[in-house]
């Protein structure tokens, strides 16, 4: 604190309170909307105070078949999202930590080439190669499968760089000592590198879980079968038929359920989350 100016403190508090309200406002509206009965949305404006229809709204979306808007019960979509998020996070970490290990602790022909090939993935987000990627997936018969949903998203340059950075800071003496004691590469990896990168793995896991859960374009491309629908991609389909019969309470219940898991992860693992975010951008 440079100087003690009361009015600046008040101003800062006022700004922050406005900020918090701004950030929370849309979510508040969604939660409130999910607690009303469908008739509350027919006329007037969105209600701003909680209603009494919580149980019906949420029970309705879990049972599925709510008025033509959802053919799949929400439980299946939540399960698909969970599978997708966990598989992507887990797969990315395993694949990246192995390749970082290879790049840092071995010297072999084409090492630099391999590094650059991994680097290039950074420059090719799904969005810019939509059609040809879709063709590859359909040629490999991976449409409507969990493999199709997860495996193609597992390559990760950022995670590889992160682990490379971590390994480079681990003292050389550890590896020399392990070799003198007769440990082979995989034993060294399992008994020394893995335990030493635990926090980084956990932090990265938090970020990647959110990344996987929030995927939107990919599930839309790869799944046509409702039983593989993820919740984030599923909301859109519900909202599409809205013009005919706006069951806003159901749509908002699904929206709330779609953001709940990643938001809880951020709130309860804030330290790891911030670490993961900062680490993976370096």
């Amino acid at each position: 604190m440079v100087e003690n100016q009361r009015w600046l403190d008040y101003l800062a508090h006022a700004v922050l309170i406005c900020g918090v309200l701004l950030v929370a406002f849309p979510v508040y509206i969604a939660v409130i909307a999910s607690t009303h009965e469908p008739s509350a949305f027919v006329t007037g404006t969105i209600p701003l105070l909680p209603g009494a229809n919580v149980v019906d709204s949420y029970a309705g979306v879990f049972e599925g078949g709510v008025s033509s808007q959802m053919s799949v019960p929400i439980g299946v979509m939540l399960q698909n999202s969970m599978i997708m998020a966990l598989a992507i996070a887990f797969g990315k970490i395993v694949i990246s930590i192995l390749s970082a290990f290879a790049i840092v602790y071995f010297r072999f022909p084409f090492r630099v080439l391999a590094f650059w090939m991994i680097f290039i993935t950074l420059m090719l987000p799904v969005e810019v190669r939509i059609v040809p990627t879709f063709e590859v997936i359909s040629n490999l018969n991976m449409l409507n499968s969990y493999t199709g949903l997860t495996v193609p998203l597992m390559a990760s340059a950022t995670a590889t760089f992160l682990f490379r950075q971590v390994f480079l800071t681990i003292p050389d003496e550890l590896m020399e000592a392990a070799r003198i004691d007769g440990a082979g590469p995989m034993k060294f990896f399992r008994d020394i590198l893995l335990p030493m990168s635990q926090t980084n793995i956990a932090a990265l896991f938090v970020i990647l879980f959110i990344y996987g859960w929030n995927q939107y374009l990919w599930p839309i491309l790869v799944t046509t079968d409702d039983s593989y629908q993820t919740i984030v991609a599923g909301i859109k389909r519900m909202a599409d038929v809205v013009d005919s019969e706006p069951n806003w309470n159901y749509i908002m219940s699904v929206t709330v359920l779609a953001m709940l898991p990643p938001v809880l992860v951020v709130i309860f693992m804030q330290r790891l989350f911030v670490k993961g975010l900062v680490d993976s951008e370096k």
Partner: protein, 295 residues
């Protein structure tokens, strides 16, 4: 490239370790990218039975196409507005948190969680708030300013809607990095300026902002990439590029032309142009990161 002083001598093992990563990269990244480049020089007939080499025709056709030029314009407006809004709001919030001694952490927790909200969900949330018949914002706009909001008819309204939704989602990310950037500015500098008689506003412009420029620049690149690509979900979940192409950004057009229009040559040419754009942005980002490390 850096390795360890001592290394393991195995010959085959490193290839085995790299195999999964490289397999995924080649099959799902490099191969499709190469296909996009190839297709961008071809033109398929209406039934997809045969294709012929057309050289740069797909590209020249794009730049003669008013719809594509419109998409470029829309993307520029959308990107700039979203980036300015997201960076501006988060910088103000970060400056305020930086003044707090005890309550900083609590405010941070309350501000960071929207990072976890999917862009598609952010779109749906704002779409509901701005719903022309029952939304709360159109109600306020109509009664306070007499403005008749309708994003399904008025192009400007649709643009404002997607900008607000996209920026809202990005505030928490920018905020975290701005707070970290502000904390790394030595207090002694600001104290010295205060002793020399510089007020809070002057200190912000002459000390805080210049010293924050590495963070700002980094965030600028990240945010531009975000608005160019990840906002696909925001657009698709809300306006679907309409009304009258008013929110049809480049990424969305690649998708529509490819999957709805089935014009693969044109879609591939657009993909290649976007790849070029990402490559430029990535190079900028990495040159900058290298410089930051030597600080």
């Amino acid at each position: 490239m850096q390795t360890k002083r001592t290394i393991f001598g195995n010959k085959g093992l490193p290839y085995l370790l790299l195999a999964p990563q490289l397999a995924v990269t080649i099959i799902f990244f490099l191969w499709p990218a190469a296909q996009a480049v190839r297709q961008s020089f071809l033109r398929e007939d209406a039934f997809g039975l045969s294709s012929s080499f057309v050289g740069l025709r797909n590209y020249t056709r794009l730049f003669d196409n008013p719809e594509y030029l419109n998409a470029i314009k829309v993307t520029v407006v959308f990107s700039i507005s979203t980036v300015v809004l997201a960076l501006g709001v988060s910088l103000i919030l970060a400056l305020a948190v930086d003044r707090m001694i005890r309550s900083g952490r609590a405010y941070t927790t309350l501000l960071v969680w929207p990072y976890a909200v999917a862009p598609a969900v952010a779109g749906i949330l704002w779409w509901f708030i701005f719903n022309p018949t029952i939304g709360i914002m159109p109600y306020i706009l109509e009664n306070l300013f007499g403005y008749d909001w309708n994003h399904s008819l008025t192009p400007n309204d649709a643009m404002i809607l997607v900008v607000v939704a996209a920026a809202w989602k990005q505030i928490s990310y920018n905020f975290l990095f701005f707070v970290a950037g502000l904390q790394s500015i030595p207090t002694s500098l600001r104290e010295a300026a205060a002793i020399d008689g510089a007020g809070p506003v002057k200190r912000f412009w002459t000390i805080t902002l210049p010293l924050l420029s590495p963070t700002t620049f980094f965030l600028l690149v990240v945010n531009v990439v975000y608005t160019l690509f990840e906002t696909f979900a925001v657009i698709d979940a809300t306006t679907e590029g309409g009304p009258a192409q008013a929110t049809n950004i480049l990424v969305y057009k690649v998708f529509r032309d490819g999957f709805v229009g089935l014009d693969f040559g044109s879609s591939a040419a657009q993909s290649v142009i976007l790849m070029g754009l990402v490559i430029v942005l990535t190079v900028i980002q990495f040159r900058f990161v290298e410089r930051r490390v030597t600080y």
